[in-house]
Amino acid sequence: MQKLSLDKDLKEVLEMFPKLKLFEKDKKKFIRGEINIFDAADNYVDSFDIKVTVPRNYPYGFPSLFETGNKFEHIPDRHISEDGSCCVCPLQESDLVSQKGITIKDFFLKYVIPYLANQLYFDSEEEWANGDYEHGVDGILQYYKELFKLNDIEEVINLLSFFNTKKMNRNDDCYCGQKAKLKRCHIQTYNTIKNLSKVQIETDLFRLKNLSKRLAREQKNQKV
């Protein structure tokens, strides 16, 4: 059933992007070739050579995008990770999508094309269309700060630890301290966190705690 769906989805993508071809190596499927970027008015803008790997447990798991034509510099500031893959979104978003499942077509439409269009936007404007996330652990902290609307790293760690250990009901009082039920207050944030995998939350907590210690150490050294 899964194979049937993958074959059908791949066929659809290859028809939509006629210069892409399907390959298989060591039982891993990947798509490689040229992709054309058009603007919203259907004017051609530019092309990229890319490779997209299909996760083994498709449609679960998050596909990886690689820019193979070196059209832009492969450095963190252009949002290319150390393994050469394109960081199309924060790790937490890819974790959420992985669990929910994403078709290869949706991956192209929601991540590949917008990411590559954003690279072209950056080339022209020297800034990202919607800003970007900081690299590494700083980006993780930024993600949670924005999600929780908090500024302090310790507050972020505390809240994330709370979510990691406690389950809430919709009718419970909201965690934020306001006298309102969760369902009428921060239900959206709670649902996002609830859908993150345990592994992701624990890894993020570990990294954030390390960051916190490092920041404290740096602060101490500055005082000395």
Binding site: D39, Y115, V137
Partner: protein, 335 residues
């Protein structure tokens, strides 16, 4: 695709301004003359003056150049310049050629809403688009027949494979124009089913005899070849907006075999049982071919466009719309 936009503009002017409307008493009058501020009827002399300014986009010309196509200038119909030495003689010569028969079908539908002059403008413009794109890709117009054309590709010192590829590219682009851009323009005026039917075949050096047909001023330099005859026959097997090609075209073009499917109705367009020669005809998937070309870009909606020589961003706001909510991140070593 805006490659043929100038041709389309002429056709749209004729369609918009010359439509015959029927009044209550069934008297026919032109809608173009209806109001005092209307631009008036688009006449054949308007067409003639516009025709002289017709050109193709620089990007299309660049593709033809990149593919190594060399236009044959100063063409005189029926007198291929590479074989003009045969004129006025009884000499013959063997040399390969690619024969293409292009027909535009359904133009009689135009008579329902347009008069003869408008029909002439529209048919001429479509033909002219075909003539010009064929010539750009090194084609030679052998004959204009009715709504259609008979075109040769190739000649002396022209690589056989390249000439075949040029032929398929030119006629693929023309088919796209008729099937998409023109179809939309016609449908807006309630005119349906105007389409092309194209047959192409390749005859090699030992299979094509060149010589003069007719006599004196009633003559042309013609090819006597099974494969020229088969190209005309294949055209009859082509469905709406289809290109049917012979086995030798498939072999010479050297494109991906996935681009061809055997004509189901009749696989062998020619059979010679005595010599065990069976010649297959194929439908050429010109759209798939164009979409796979490095010179052409395909949008998500499936529309094609010729890639400009220099990539530019037409509108940063429109590009931003495509970016949507994308906000990238970068995994780097976690300290």
């Amino acid at each position: 695709m805006n490659t043929f936009s100038e041709y389309q503009n002429i056709i749209e002017k004729a369609l918009n301004r010359n439509e015959i409307s029927k009044g209550l008493n069934e008297s026919r009058r032109y809608t173009g003359l209806a109001g005092p501020t209307s631009p008036g009827r688009y006449t054949f002399s308007d067409y003639v003056s516009n025709r002289s300014q017709l050109s193709f986009s620089a990007d299309l010309v660049a593709i033809a150049n990149k593919m190594g196509a060399v236009p044959l200038n100063n063409q005189v119909i029926g007198h291929h310049p590479h074989f003009s030495h045969l004129k006025g003689t009884t000499n013959t010569e063997k040399h390969y050629i690619i024969s293409a028969f292009i027909d535009i079908k359904g133009s009689t539908n135009l008579f329902k809403k347009y008069d003869e002059e408008t029909n002439m403008i529209i048919t001429n413009t479509i033909q002219l688009a075909a003539i010009n794109v064929c010539q750009l890709f090194g084609g030679f117009i052998q004959r204009i027949q009715g709504d259609g054309l008979f075109v040769y590709f190739g000649g002396k010192n022209v690589d056989k494979s390249k000439a075949t590829q040029h032929c398929l590219t030119a006629l693929g682009l023309f088919s796209y124009f008729v099937k998409n851009d023109l179809k939309r323009a016609f449908e807006q005026h309630g005119i349906e089913r105007i389409f092309t039917k194209i047959g192409i075949d390749f005859g090699d050096d030992d299979k094509v005899l060149w010589g003069v047909a007719g006599k004196d001023n009633t003559s042309e330099i013609a090819t006597y070849s099974l494969h020229t005859s088969l190209a005309a026959k294949m055209q009859a097997y082509a469905g709406s907006n289809e290109i049917v090609v012979g086995q030798y075209v498939k072999d010479k073009a050297n494109f991906d075999s996935m681009l061809y499917t055997v004509v189901e109705e009749q696989r062998y367009i020619f059979s010679d049982q005595d010599n065990a020669f069976y010649y297959t005809q194929y439908v050429f998937d010109w759209l798939k071919y164009l979409k796979s070309s490095q010179h052409i870009a395909t949008s998500i909606a499936g529309d094609i466009t010729i890639k400009p020589q220099i990539a530019t961003i037409p509108s940063i706001a429109s590009l931003k719309e495509v970016v949507g909510e994308n906000r990238p991140y970068a995994k780097i070593k976690f300290r």
